[in-house]
Amino acid sequence: MSALRHEHRGGRVTPCPPLSGLSERGAHGVTRTTLVMLCLYIVLMAFSAIASEEAPRGGRSITDNSIQWPAPELIWRVATLQDYNTRVVFLGVSALSSAAGLVGTFLLLRKRSLLSDAVSHATLPGLALAFLIVEAAGGNGRALPVLLAGAAVGGVLGMTTVTLIRRFSRLKDDVALALVLSVFFGLGVCFIVAIQQLPTGNAAGLDHMIYGKAAAMSSGDAKLILGAGLVVALICIALFKEFRLLCFDENFAAVQGWPRILLDLMLMGLVVAVTVIGLQAVGLLLSVALLIVPAAAARFWSESLGKTAWIAAAIGLVSGWGGVLASALFPKLPAGAMIVLVACGVFAFSMLFGVRRGVWVRWREHRRVKQRVGHQHLMRACYELLESRANGQGSAGDFLGAGQIGFDELLRRESWSHHVLSGLLRVGQAAGFVATEGQNQFRLTASGRAEARRVVRNHRLWELYLIEHADVAPSHVHHDADEIEHVVDANIVARLEEMLSAGVAGTVVPVNPELSAPGGARS
């Protein structure tokens, strides 16, 4: 065991592993990340400006007196945080949302994002009961530390219940979450209704906890949130490697001797902490958004956990800034909801244009692969058409230059539509593999012949390999080979050649065009 431990590089915690990862990638990676972040920032600035501009327009038609478009100098003053009040709120909110982004990343990778929803709902009975107990004891139940402590207890209890149900019954995650969420929240509602009947007062302070009221944040509250947020972020950084192990290979972590359950509990504790300190800023119902949305958005920008975590923190920060900005300019708009809306805007943008997993990038990649596969199918269809016409006479390769290929003949061979085939032929023509010969007639050029030979050769080598070495039934081979031939590279083909003697079982493998016809070979 200890030998294993030593082998695993850096048995101790190395703070901030993503930085070392960056240096391995070299300067290129760093500038690229920085650039992306910069672009993101600019886009977000624009977005939050637009978002705050849109809101009043919608509102003016309904309420004439309420929201006025503020003067440019006011926007500038608020955006650069020159007001003390805005600064305080921004400080608290940004510390909270970036810490939530960090924690949320681990939560997302563990596929437990909705756990935060159950935890946040479970805080309600905790904080209401804390209020009741402290009021009954003669204290001030509305004090923030009292409510937060109660909320934390409720959150931990809710999380424990989820874990117990998951562990000791065959019910699935979603059932456990929905159960805890609704039952705990129902209990909380019971307490709230009871509180409203008490002579000592209304539940106004508690309402802030449900819907959030960032604007009511005092500088003391902001400092409390800032401190808590920093502690959460520090724990995340310190335990970064352990959490990473937990996310990617839980069992490996256990085998390596890490206290898996303890680490899991730490992570869940951080979730509770973030939820609880988020109560005042964005409210119980939306603090879950800070844990889910920035992390999910960051996932589109990077495949590395380190970068994803930092991008998530940055997105959280920017959303916090945008939300505070909007609610400072338009006091009617609730800051918590604005923060979430900005974060969701970032998410939508990331989902479409994220450089790693965004829809646009994946669509482009998909199209590229489709084109390549289509091209290879076309080449093989041409080859096989000419081959069947030559009826096996003459050695491989002789018949290729001879014949013309009819459009309709090709269409009959494969399951192409008219549109797809003409598209493929256009691409082939542009690449110089296919030449037109009158109406609906084609012929392979010299380089096209070499390409067709190469494609068919790869395909048949694979067919042989699958029959001879992978024990695939001959009737299934064609389809399997079809899928695999598009991904093999030259090295593997060379190795296959060595492994298989040519001409096994009646299949004719064309000779390598690069050896037999140097003139027509592609470089």
Partner: protein, 303 residues
Amino acid sequence: MNWTELDTWIVLTAALVAMACALPGVFLLLNRQSMLGDAISHGVLPGLAIAFLATGSRAPWAMLLGAVIAGVLTGVLTQWVQRFGQVEGGASMGVVFCFLFALGLILIRTAADHVDLDPGCVLYGSIETAVVDVNRVPRIFWISGAMLGVNALLTALFYKELKIASFDPDLATAQGISAVWVRNGLTIVTAITTVMAFESVGSILVIAMMVAPAAAASLLSHRLSVIMWLSLLLAGLAAVLGHVGALTIFPATLAKLGLGKTGATSTAGMMAVTAGVLFALAFAWSLVKDRFGRQTSGIRLPA
């Protein structure tokens, strides 16, 4: 305890709503979509707000239409984000309902001067006032009854399809039953049920009744038909016991603990708690049975 005729109507209405929720709840559980009720109940808020802003009144049909559209949209958007964005299911659901809920809060706040639309009312519900009616039999009672009837009818009609699609989607597709459409239909029924129910009893009770009876029943039996009847029974039981608890047990407990003298608490909240207690009992029973009892046979729920 002072039981009036009003209390009878509260219990009857709540029982009908609870049973109407429990029916789709069983299939949500089998499809691993129990959180859908929660997501939809958050997601309908902008639908309500937009319906109000567009019509300028609280006409029930407009509110219902807006909410149902928003509810179905929650389900559809979640699937889109999951499919096109390749985001994990839970996270995509979280993103979607958080977005819609935040949007709804802002819309309501923007029009706050004119709107008498309290998000709190949507969450907690007020079945206590909903049953107060000029007629002898409150309108909400008939609505709830109709809802239960429709859900029961749909379940009976599509029982085979629902069963196959829940247990083995591939087999269902192979037999010509589109598992996707069964799922979509379930989403739509869930959305409509949620919206209809939460107007009267609050979304928290809806979520609880969609998951707790079905979960408890599935711990007690392995047969789908038994699970369905059991969850109906448990839902009705939770409604009755919940109202009694709200009137007596909860205030008594608070007073005994010295936390203050209060009257009856929220019926919807207490019904959710009761459903939770019933689940806890079923959970304990299943643990005891697993430990000491015979090994159960018959079909297992899908893992």
